[in-house]
Amino acid sequence: MPNRLFGALRGVHVPHRKNTALMPAVKMDPPSSVVIPTVMHIGAPAKPIVKAGDKVAVGQLIAESGGFISAPVHASISGTVKKVEDIVLSNGRRAPAVFIESDGEMRPYEGITPPKVESLAQLTEAIRASGIVGLGGAGFPTSVKLAIDDISRAEYFVINGAECEPYITSDTRTMLDYTDLVERGVRRIVGYLNPKAAYIGIENNKPLSIKTLSQRFTGDKNIIVKSLPPMYPQGGEKVLIYNTTGRIVPEGKLPLDVGVVIMNVTTLANIEMYIETGMPLVEKLVTVDGSAVKEPKNLFVPIGTRLRDVFEFCGGFKEEPGKLLYGGPMMGTAVPDLDAPILKNTNAVLAFNRKDSEVRKETPCIRCGNCVNHCPMRLNPPAIAKAYNNRDGASLYKQRVNLCMECGACSFICPANQPIVQRHKLAKLVLREWQDSMKGV
């Protein structure tokens, strides 16, 4: 266990704004068309296997995995492929996307059958076929995480239900509305990995989720629901691993290197769903909220649905939106237009009114130290700023800017509105350049 007095990781208290926590997810009316990108994960793009004019049904493979770190993509509505064309995603990546026009039937693909899963190897294979990626936000292909050569290495299994971002309640609803799936999923993976203990980490601002899951595992000595203080970024992978198992993931290493397999709770529920029904990842539970949204909701949305259709289903905008986000306000990505599609790892879409969207003016750093004292990774942003301004790769390495997970606690707490996260993103590029140049020598 981490030492509470001296070893506790710091963070910030963000507003919770879990307005939708008590709203069970409803199914959205199927949209008239979708745009499904072939990159919704970290790694190589999937390769499209359909062309304009092809008829597709829900769950049908439309793009196959493009490598070991990649994931296949499936049709989320039934209808006709209109075109396969490159689009630019909000992260700036350009990749082909499959445009499908709905026939209004949402007809499931007839080839859907539950996979046979009786071992970890079969589970990994099934997850690979399901197209499931890290649904907590990172989008790392889940099958890669479970491709473990020696299962004795997996000492702990950590399930991430922290959901520390403001507004987002999709994990909360998964835990409450799909408790059975979560329970069976946990038991299945615990059965295959046989860890010393499994921890389900949940921030204590979700007492109902904690209570519901605790009841399911009261008889299990090695499956522990852990109530965690709501300290952002509690759901950060390294933070949660430390706060549940006490282990520190060294830089450049994976959780498995310190004996931990970690997975988001919604990812887990989707894996179990796939194993039981055979339906790949074609639909996402998404929290729709923000000051510009008329009727905030938790929605099941077909992947590829345009944000325009999602917001329309939520009654449209009550005020002119100034900013749209994929994900929460701490780590979410700003989306430039309403035609952007819902992705596999989209857990929320938020729309803020003009006033909430204003970018606050930057003033000089007064060295208040808030960023230093609230960084969960114990980095020193002012020192990083100095090194970055001098384009000093050696110092950036010394300051370990590469360890920054861009959680935004520093920028959130900064009284001078310094663009710290943005600077760290750029500093990482300077660091990489320096490291490459060092290799050349």
């Binding site: 830089e251 986000l325 306000p329 000089p364 007064i366 130290g369 114990r378 009284p415």
Partner: protein, 314 residues
């Protein structure tokens, strides 16, 4: 292409805590109000004039500097007000206006603006100006009388001067706590200063580390050197220790950011203060100590760096 591309795109995070530099400065000003009121009650209305002149000079100095070098106006961040306020509270109520104006301009223009403005100066402007004035206007800085004080105590020399072997009698400990003794406007009333400290802690503007370590270490070291519990108490209540420890040694810009660094900084200030008070030519050593430690801030910061989580040494 740019059809409905009307949404703001910026890097996360998209919300902030709402804290601002101006808000922090305002908190510091509020925290100093009790000391200003106490000083005015103890030393008379002229206290307000002195402090007012310092604030006005600081604001004017910064505004003019910005105008001359064609920089954006910065007086709205209130940091010049804080500097003027702290410097004013560090001056005797009976001081002439001219030295007060010159000291204020020195603090703002020479110590702050010339180094690049807020956040760039290496020395605390108020502490540096006080030291500058002690040397440049030593007579003006020690005037005590002329003004009819509300309380008689003022006419007496400062307790530190008395303890250093000067003439006069020491005020009682009660008077020391209340601030009924000779000294600068804002430094004498311990109750008012501690009230300000509590406010800053509650508002999370500063942490306890520097003030508690600084004052605590001065107390223990004095007890050790003088061998008297009572003298140690006098030492922490006398001179500018409390106002220095609470308001000057906690200045963000010129002190370390890490908790451990703050402890080291406070400890260093305490050692220097006790040495100067005991062995130096001046009876008072707080401003000198803070100034000397300011120089070390960068090194303390480096030496107390926290190990990043999961750092692997290459």
């Amino acid at each position: 292409m740019e059809s409905d591309n009307k949404f703001i795109v910026s890097v996360s995070p998209h919300i902030t805590s709402g804290r601002s530099t101006r808000g922090i400065m305002l908190d510091v000003i509020i925290a100093l109000v009790p000391a200003l009121i106490a000083g005015t009650v103890i030393f008379g209305l002229r206290s307000l004039l002195v402090v007012g002149v310092c604030i006005a000079s600081c604001l004017a100095g910064e505004a003019l500097f910005n105008l001359i070098v064609k920089r954006k106006q910065t007086i709205g961040d209130l940091s010049a007000v804080v500097t003027g306020l702290i410097l004013g509270l560090n001056l005797p109520a009976a001081i002439n206006i001219y030295p007060a104006v010159i000291g204020s301009l020195f603090a703002i223009v020479v110590i702050k603006c010339l180094f690049g403005g807020l956040g760039k100066n290496f020395a605390n402007p108020a502490a540096a100006a006080r030291v500058f004035m002690l040397i440049a206007f030593s007579n003006a800085m020690s005037v005590t009388a002329e003004i009819k004080p509300v309380v008689d105590a003022v006419a007496s020399p400062t307790p530190l001067a008395v303890m250093k072997g000067g003439v006069g009698t020491l005020p009682s400990l009660i008077d020391m706590v209340l601030g009924l003794r000779g000294g600068a406007i804002g430094e004498t009333c311990a109750i008012a200063l501690v009230l300000g400290f509590a406010y800053l802690l509650v508002r999370r503007v500063i942490t306890w580390h520097t003030p508690v370590v600084y004052v605590g270490a001065v107390f223990l070291l004095s007890w050790l050197i003088y061998g008297s519990f009572e003298t140690a108490l006098y030492q922490i209540l006398a001179g500018g220790l409390l106002i220095g420890a609470i308001f000057m040694a906690t200045d963000y810009v010129t002190t370390p950011t890490t908790d451990l660094g703050k402890v080291v900084f406070g400890l260093g200030c305490a050692v220097l203060t006790v040495i100067i008070r005991r062995f130096g030519a001046y009876p008072e050593g707080v401003s000198f100590s803070i100034l000397l430690m300011n120089i070390l801030t960068n090194y303390i910061e480096k030496a107390t760096r926290r190990k990043p989580l999961g750092e692997v040494k290459a």
